[in-house]
């Protein structure tokens, strides 16, 4: 192995290999799905076969008789230990096991416990559940008409203050509506030289982490320990404590590595069920899902986005109206937050005086939708960057020049009214254009295979306000340990945090021990989501390390060390405590300022940092078959000053490849509420042959002034622009505009045939 010489100082900016690399390549990294506890029972779940229905009966008699079955449970049993078993980050609307009604195909209805999971599985086949089917609704725009209702009453949680007004609301599928009004769009449209309106749609897709959801609960009378592949262990702790009416400190959540997260493993997934079953069984219980069951757990939000822009005679966008319908599925999960927060930037990275945004979170009778890498932004960018490109082409303007003319710059107010700062949008756009040789002529070909190029740029406001706490503990030999609840799910957070500690304390990052997540030990963090951790937890970590450093300096002074002395820390401790004993502990707490939007969605402090990224694409289209082959994919982002450039590059690459799947072929096929392709055999995710032959991933030269060491987050950035860049390139190649995802070969060919006036049949 090439020796990596630990460097002192300058830890930030190093492309250090991940700290946990050895564990991962030797197969020894721990993941919840693989964990075993002594005396553990395994749970298997019986799921609803109807999309919407009243539960008439659940007969568990035969199931209970199977040898080896420990117990069979329904919501009746759950309610004997948790009387009010509804959970969720935004709404307390999701029951641990269905109560009275089922709201989507796949909803958990009953659970079997057995030591042998094969036996548990067998037993679920023997449970007879009968339903009285009710009308179901699946489309988000139709759901907004409120003709078929998913829930009788809305149940917002207290967690987020801005949702309180929804409590008790009846007669609606709209879980939340966010509105933003800036200027007067109607006046804008009236005075515009050109008005364009388009509607875009995205499909239901899902995370499909290779480690499916898994939680283990070990309930004791005086406390419960939960092992879970959870991205937000602090939330799991507070939510389980709430369900049990316990103080937080009786709930311990331990998180090993995650075999993928991407937003799916946030909030509560299997934790509550595992806890309830463990309470009932008085044994440790593991709920570990199969790949197929992930289709019935959480997905991305399908969406419909109607967007209208008014352009003046000089090509300036003077008005933009956005209406977005988010298909949230049967339970809210974090959908209402997504609906609101993504609403801030629905109009795109453009300087537009008159903006109107309406963003609706809809209940439907489908698998619940939640956070998936991008948190609504990819769906919005799909619409606004396709729309903006279409406008440019219609006005015979160069797509880059048209964007540049209208781009937001630092110092200008974004749609919310917040002044843009440290948002290198133009730099990103210029770099993409440069890498695409945009100014040079491009040969689109003459034969069966045509070529095209396209690009897209995007803006996101990182979620706010959120809180992160970190503790740095210096041991008596000077070795440092970091305690923080940011979850490393492959994005390299442990490594980045260690680099920041090392930077402050002048020690190699490799020497910093980052403890596994354990809410008995690692302090509060809002959650590892939305590309927030590098900035928020980074600040907390930095502050903690600085406090430790200051205490070390104070100790030196106390011990009479001369100024500038660099006597080893071990010597200091020995002097102070007479032996290798004692600790120096530094704590950091970070919560950025934030001003919630007013009733018009406006605020002067919407976010502590803007996220900026874009993509450029060159591709080929086989005009006889519709097959699209992406030949070059370029991802450019503003991450401020990267903490670990190599990890940043792989985050950009990985995110874009994930988005490639969502763009080109991934889709949950739903027929009357039934998912017809719930397995990797029939739902394909990108594999090695799907990777474009040329990929470039880069950051622009930038600084995040208020970021830790000038940095900000990267995880989601390269999901933003991929889909519209491809659609724009297809339009460039063959003059066909796709407005729905995925952009399959069939969709492309149909578009071509429509353009040539001989549409394909419907069968």
């Amino acid at each position: 192995m090439k020796a990596i010489k630990p460097q002192v100082g300058h830890q930030v900016g190093r492309s250090l290999p991940r700290l946990e690399a050895r564990e991962k390549v030797t197969g020894r990294a721990e993941y919840t799905h693989l964990m075993q506890l002594p005396g553990m029972l395994q749970a298997k779940i019986l799921r609803s076969t109807v999309a919407h229905g009243r539960i008439k009966s659940i007969d568990t008699t035969d199931a209970k008789k199977i040898p080896g079955v420990f117990g069979v449970y329904t919501s009746d049993d759950i309610q004997t230990v948790i009387p009010d078993p509804y959970y969720g980050p935004a709404f307390h609307d999701q029951p641990i096991l269905a109560i009275g009604k089922v709201h989507f195909v796949g909803e958990p209805v009953a659970a079997v416990l057995a030591a042998d999971p094969h036996i548990a599985e067998q037993a679920t086949q023997r449970i007879i559940a009968e339903y009285e089917e009710l009308p179901a609704i699946f489309d988000e725009v139709e759901a907004a008409e409120n003709k078929v209702l998913v829930h009788e009453e809305l149940k917002p949680a207290g967690t987020f203050a801005d949702l309180k007004h929804l409590k008790g609301r009846k007669g609606t599928n709209i879980a939340l509506d966010f509105r933003l009004r800036r200027g007067d769009v109607d006046k804008g449209f009236a005075s515009a030289a050109h008005v364009f309106e388009h509607t875009f749609r995205t499909q239901k897709v899902l995370h499909l982490a290779l480690e499916p959801y898994a939680s283990i609960a070990d309930y004791r009378e005086d406390g419960v320990t939960i092992y879970s592949g959870a991205q937000s262990p602090s939330f799991v702790r507070t939510e389980i404590a709430r369900l049990l009416s316990w103080p937080e400190n009786r709930v311990r959540v331990k998180v090993p590595y995650l075999g993928g997260g991407y937003g799916g493993k946030l909030y509560i997934k299997m934790e509550a069920l595992a806890v309830a079953l463990s309470m009932l069984a008085r044994r440790p219980v593991k709920v570990a899902l199969t790949m197929e069951e992930q289709f019935y757990t959480i997905t991305k939000h399908p969406s419909t986005f109607r967007i209208k822009s008014g352009i003046d005679k000089d090509g300036k966008i003077i008005a933009r109206k956005c209406e977005v319908w988010w298909n949230g599925g049967a339970y809210a999960d974090v959908g209402p937050r997504l609906t609101q927060k993504s609403g801030f930037t629905a109009s795109g990275p453009y300087d537009i005086d008159n903006v109107s945004i309406d963003s609706y979170a809809l209940y439907t009778n489908l698998t619940p939708a939640g956070a998936l890498r991008g948190f609504g932004i990819p769906q919005l960018v799909w619409a606004y960057e396709s729309h903006t490109d279409m406008i440019a082409r219609a006005l015979k303007r160069d797509p880059v020049d048209f964007r540049k003319q209208n781009l937001l710059h630092d110092g200008r107010p974004q749609a919310t009214g917040t002044i843009l700062k440290n948002a290198a949008i133009e730099k990103v756009l210029d770099r993409i254009a440069e890498r695409l040789n945009w100014k040079k002529p491009f040969d689109r070909g003459q034969g069966v295979v045509r070529r095209g190029r396209g690009l897209a740029v995007a803006l996101k406001a990182v979620i706010s306000p959120t809180t992160s706490v970190a503790v740095v503990n210096i041991a008596a030999d000077g070795s440092a340990t970091l305690y923080c609840s940011t979850v490393d799910m492959g994005q390299g957070s442990d490594t980045a945090m260690a680099q920041m500690v090392g930077e402050v304390l002048d020690m190699p990052a490799e020497s910093v021990r980052v403890v596994p997540r354990d809410t008995d030990v690692t302090p509060y963090d809002m959650g590892t989501l939305g590309s927030r951790s590098l900035f928020h937890m980074g600040h907390a970590v930095r502050l903690a390390a600085e406090e430790a450093r200051d205490k070390i300096a104070a100790l030196r002074r106390e011990l009479g060390e001369p100024e500038g002395s660099n006597a080893p820390l071990g010597d200091l401790f020995r002097k102070k405590y007479g032996m290798q004993a004692g600790n120096i502990v530094g704590t950091g707490i970070y919560k950025p300022d934030y001003i919630p939007p007013d009733s018009s969605g406006l605020t002067t402090n919407a976010t502590p940092f803007w996220m900026v990224a874009g993509s450029g694409v060159e591709l080929e289209v086989d005009t006889e078959t519709g097959h699209v082959r992406i030949t070059r994919l370029i991802n450019v982002a503003d991450v401020g000053k990267p903490i670990n450039p190599k990890i940043v590059e792989t985050q950009l690459s990985g995110a874009s490849l994930m988005q490639l799947g969502f763009s080109m072929f991934e889709k949950m096929h739903v027929d009357g509420g039934q998912i017809t392709n719930a397995s990797l055999a029939d739902y394909k995710i990108p594999a090695i042959h799907d990777v474009p032959p040329v990929m470039e991933n880069m950051t622009v030269d930038a600084v995040q002034d208020n970021g830790p060491f000038g940095a900000k987050g990267v995880g989601e950035l390269a999901t933003f622009g991929v889909s519209p860049a491809i659609a724009n390139a297809i339009d460039d190649a063959i003059g066909v505009r796709l407005t729905e995802l995925p952009m399959t070969a069939e969709a492309v060919l149909r578009g071509l045939y429509v353009k040539n006036n001989r549409p394909l049949g419907d069968d």
């Binding site: 072929f665 055999a681 995710i685 799907d690 069968d763």
Partner: protein, 290 residues
Amino acid sequence: MTPFDLVEPASLKEAIALIDPDDPDVRPIAGGTALMLMMKAGVFRPTRLVSLRRLRNGLSQITSTMDGELKIGAMTPLTAIEHSSEVKRAAPVIARTMRRLANVRVRNVATIGGALAHADPHMDLPPVLIALGASVSIAGISSERSMTVEDLLTGYYETALAKNELITELRIPTQGNSQAVYFKVTAGSVDDWPALGLAAAIVSEGDTVRSVRLVVSAATSKPMRLTAAERALNGQIANEVHLKRVADIAAEEADIIADIRGSASYKRELLRVFTARAVRAAMEPRGAPH
């Protein structure tokens, strides 16, 4: 999976005797890849599996006769066929097809006999074998018989095998001057099940087609010969005008099934396009890449 009995007979005769033709819950298992999928999905819950593993030694040979006929034992794993120099010589299209067939791990375990007996209409080898004119030997409780692969595959996951019959051998006749190609057309990710498979085997003399077999798969309930298209092409000069006509005939004659990989209309277009492309490719001078 539900527990089951596993028996491991030492001979073909013993194996056949252990399969009760009237009990749908008893089946033979070769490599097991297809069967395991069915068992894990709960589609098949066996009471007993009759393992054919101990029959491997006798049934995994690849030999070519003096006439150039290729014989492959039914228990031969797909990778052995893929890397066999005999197979490459006799029918290079097979090795080319294998490159994108499932994945290496599946090919290491799946056997040719098991694959044919499974009769999944999306598989890549059956249309190729039909285009090559391949046939199988079948052993039953008291008799042996033989039939073409084309006749073996009777429907959607259906074969002409009796429940207690086992394929023992695959035979590929000498190909002479015939050149065969296979197009696996995926419509989503690159390595998906095909939306359409098209195999073509053509003997040509210059631009003239002397004999042709065209087989469509994946988009139909079982691999099908495109006999009308073959008739239209046979003996003809394969110029663009003719190819277009033949392609149109192929698109019309096949009974195309819509599924999540494509509508029937779209697959029909694929069939039209790839019939022409396959014929062109099969008529390229030998050694030209396709």
